[in-house]
């Protein structure tokens, strides 16, 4: 009888300790000190990071980030929020640090965890200058007063605190690949950080963490339809030039054309420079052939 309060006390202490060690941790207040964003460079970063592909309204123009697109997953359906410059329904009144913490740490201005459908798990690797540029560009885009809609998730994923331990396991800022040349380094920035290619092209474990041992080797499509392809040299035999052309025009070397969500990606990569597209290709060709998702 007298044992129960003890156990309850331990439980509360345990949960408290767990919460403390996995509580939302934003960027340090000084993260943007001495950094000024450049909106022109930010337009390229905005395309490279694919922001509009998720945050524009369904069938809406790419620069109106009203949200509303839905994304099916094993955990339920996520609805992309309004991130336009509207001060009430968008992010217009957020500080630069609020935005940078959201993008790079998955933490809201109120200190809550975001779900990793928002690929901060990739953006955490981005250069803080790139993120500052991106934020400067976001502020130039039009406001839209469409309210954000709630996600439609299954229990227990509705509890955002569960993301604390998840982040402790899977929110990592170390690179997967070495990048010994400036081109590979740029390619790695574009593939691993901004372009967040792995979020779709790498398989996940039961908890939704990326399986780094099978990096970019392809994965089931979360929509349940078809399979997202292996883009390591084992699965993608195109030359660097052919990969770069695909990212520009959407045409494969056989002149088939990209479809599905990759058509959205092409709309973004078409806005990059030839050098950037070749850097992505160089990175992909430098991936080891031995990786396997099976």
């Amino acid at each position: 009888m007298t044992r129960w309060p003890w156990i309850a006390g331990l439980l509360v202490a345990g949960i408290g300790a767990g919460w403390f060690t996995t509580k939302p941790s934003p960027l340090p207040a000084s993260a943007l000190d001495g950094i000024t964003g450049d909106a022109t460079r930010g337009a390229v970063t905005f395309a490279a990071a694919g922001c509009a592909s998720c945050h524009n309204a369904p069938d809406g123009p790419l620069d109106v980030l009203a949200g509303g697109k839905s994304f099916t997953s094993d955990f339920g359906t996520f609805i992309a929020p309004n991130i336009s410059s509207d001060p009430v329904h968008g992010v217009g009144d957020w500080s630069d640090l609020d935005l940078a913490s959201a993008i790079m740490r998955g933490v809201s201005p109120e200190g809550a965890h975001y779900y990793p459908a928002f690929p901060y798990t990739s953006y955490i690797k981005a250069d803080i200058q790139d993120v500052a540029d991106l934020i400067a560009h976001l502020r130039t885009l039009p406001a839209d007063a469409t309210p954000s809609q709630p996600h439609d998730l299954r229990f227990p994923y509705t509890i955002r605190a569960t993301l604390g331990p998840w982040k402790a396991l899977y929110l990592r800022d170390d690179w997967v690949m070495d990048a010994p040349t400036p081109e590979l380094e740029r390619g790695r920035d574009l593939v691993e950080a901004l372009g967040h290619c792995a979020e779709c092209h790498t398989p996940r474990n039961a908890l939704g963490g990326l399986d780094r041992a099978a990096w970019l080797t392809g994965a089931p499509n979360p929509s349940g339809e078809g399979r997202i392809p292996d883009i390591t040299p084992a699965g993608l035999t195109w030359s660097e030039q052919q990969i770069a052309e695909y990212l520009k025009s959407g045409f494969t070397p056989e002149f088939d054309s990209a479809g599905g969500t990759m058509a959205d990606v092409i709309r973004n990569t078409a806005q990059l420079s030839d050098e950037d597209r070749l850097a992505i290709a160089a990175y992909l060709k430098a991936l080891p052939e031995t990786l396997s998702s099976e």
Binding site: E225, S249, G250, D256, S257, G259, A263, D264
Partner: protein
């Protein structure tokens, strides 16, 4: 000659019966074969145009004009007979999304986009490499616009 004809007929019968195992009737199979051949022909004519635009083969005005003309002619035809019920991507051999049937207006709109882009290309494809390159981009975008919504991913 006779033997060839018999062999060809046998091969055809075999392939048809293989498909029948999937419960497709003849009309469904004919539509599926025809539209997949149609898509294959797009690729056939896009290839020299794309290779010239990407400068992996030298520009040739006559080849470009002929290919672009054929592409435009193909994009303009009435396709309504292609979309026989029961041939969407729920069957194994089809990647045509059900949206083609449920959203015919949206589908016709992207098809019209391709008809216009290929017609614009056909008008200038023989006028030099720069003209070809300029008009080829929108053709690629029109392909992507349709595949984005109306083609299911490969398995």
């Amino acid at each position: 000659m006779h033997r060839k004809a018999i062999l060809a007929t046998t091969a055809l019968c075999l392939s048809v019966s293989a498909v029948l195992a999937q419960d497709l009737n003849e009309e469904q199979q004919r539509a599926l074969t025809a539209r997949q051949a149609h898509m294959g022909l797009y690729g056939f004519y896009l290839t020299p145009l794309g290779q010239m635009a990407q400068e992996t083969i030298p520009y040739d005005a006559q080849t470009a004009a002929a290919a672009a003309g054929n592409l435009a002619a193909m994009a303009a035809i009435d396709q309504s007979a292609f979309w026989v019920d029961g041939t969407d991507s729920s069957i194994e051999t089809s990647r045509a999304r059900a949206e083609i049937w449920t959203d015919p207006d949206g589908y016709l709109q992207v098809k019209q986009g391709m008809a216009e882009a290929t017609e614009a290309l056909a008008l200038v494809a023989g006028d030099g490499l720069d003209a070809l390159k300029g008009a080829f981009g929108p053709v690629g975008q029109s392909c992507g616009a349709c595949h984005q919504t109306y083609r299911a991913p490969a398995n």
